[in-house]
Symmetry: none
Subunit: 205 residues, 2 copies
């Protein structure tokens, strides 16, 4: 291994070290958010508290099983426990003019994005308005994603993988949206619905 190889080795070590540092911070933040002591988290996860302490201080390179156990005990997916962190404001208001709008290709369906930017990677919320004849076709979302459509007015038809279902006002339909899916207003009247897209595979747990 020459100079280049040693350089690469250092990068590999530094990258892994940074990731395990991030993991430690996340574990500690979540633990404190749940108001758990090391002992309590240890009991819930089956990981020794001395190891949790080491992880939080980035003094160890944990195994996959250990990470998984902690993620389970902290009620987050393993992807989430490995992700980066941020803080949030106390009250956050989005005005009408700041609310992003999406239109379907045929211009007959309107989506107001009411979901929170902070959770957009795993939770997306919309208000859907569909004129008669409107069609909203979507590509597959993340693997394992599930969409919830609660109709408030009119009738909407949902088609996923060739399976169709009609949803009337007052009804809610849930379906896998990790493949192409289509929402149609094939009724004579406009339709209104709330749509929540839960993107994470963790939802299947």
């Amino acid at each position: 291994m020459g100079v280049e190889g040693r350089e690469k080795q250092k990068l590999l070590e530094a990258g892994a070290q940074a990731l395990s540092g991030q993991l430690g911070q996340t574990v500690q933040r979540l633990r404190k958010a749940y108001n758990l002591s090391l002992s309590e988290l240890s009991q819930q996860s089956g990981v020794a508290k001395s190891i949790i302490s080491q992880i939080e201080r980035n003094e160890t390179n944990p195994t996959l099983a250990t990470i998984w156990r902690l993620a389970q005990a902290l009620d987050v997916s393993i992807e989430r426990v490995l992700q980066t962190a941020e803080d949030e404001p106390f009250l956050e208001k989005t005005s009408r003019t700041d609310t992003p709008i999406l239109l379907s290709d045929d211009g007959k369906c309107r989506l107001e994005i009411i979901g929170w930017i902070k959770t957009v990677d795993w939770l997306q919320c919309y208000e859907l308005s569909a004129d008669a004849g409107g069609v909203l076709a979507s590509e597959a979302h993340q693997r394992g994603s599930v969409e919830c459509l609660s109709v408030r007015a009119g009738v909407l038809e949902v088609e996923v993988a060739g399976v169709k279902e009609s949803v009337k006002a007052g009804e809610t339909l849930r379906y896998r949206c990790d493949r192409p899916h289509i929402i149609r207003n094939s009724g004579a009247l406009p339709a209104q619905a709330n749509m929540v897209c839960i993107l994470k595979a963790a939802v299947m747990e």
Copy 2:
């Protein structure tokens, strides 16, 4: 540790085992997709080929650094290399009569529970209708929880920890709901809103 504890231990072990099995399959699939031998991937990742072989056969519980190195060499994010396999498609419909309704103490606010029972521990969705003068007072939810209120009609006032904010139609307010909070319709007209309560402390990330 009693029977229950041993049961949990088995689940923890099985869960971690399943995940490392999945990892092994993904590593092998990607390696072959790139037409790499174990030796070549070993050189690129700095992980011994015998270890890569073990991982692919799910015969070891790899450390985070090892997983990270492999993910780097295979040009995928660590989340991707840990992703779970696909499950069966489904459509699940909840009718109007099956949609649970909650009323506020004063009887002037009505909550339809449109959220999915499966995610109720960390994600709750409601349709809120509030008559003029209606008050919906709630106790604190889980630490770190955030509520999103998107008003569709009328005006609602939200009070959290003494801080008040008015939300008009077309606006969305987000606030910490891990302390007592009150939603009031102090206007002259009925109000309508969609309410999403994200219970997980993970939202803090």
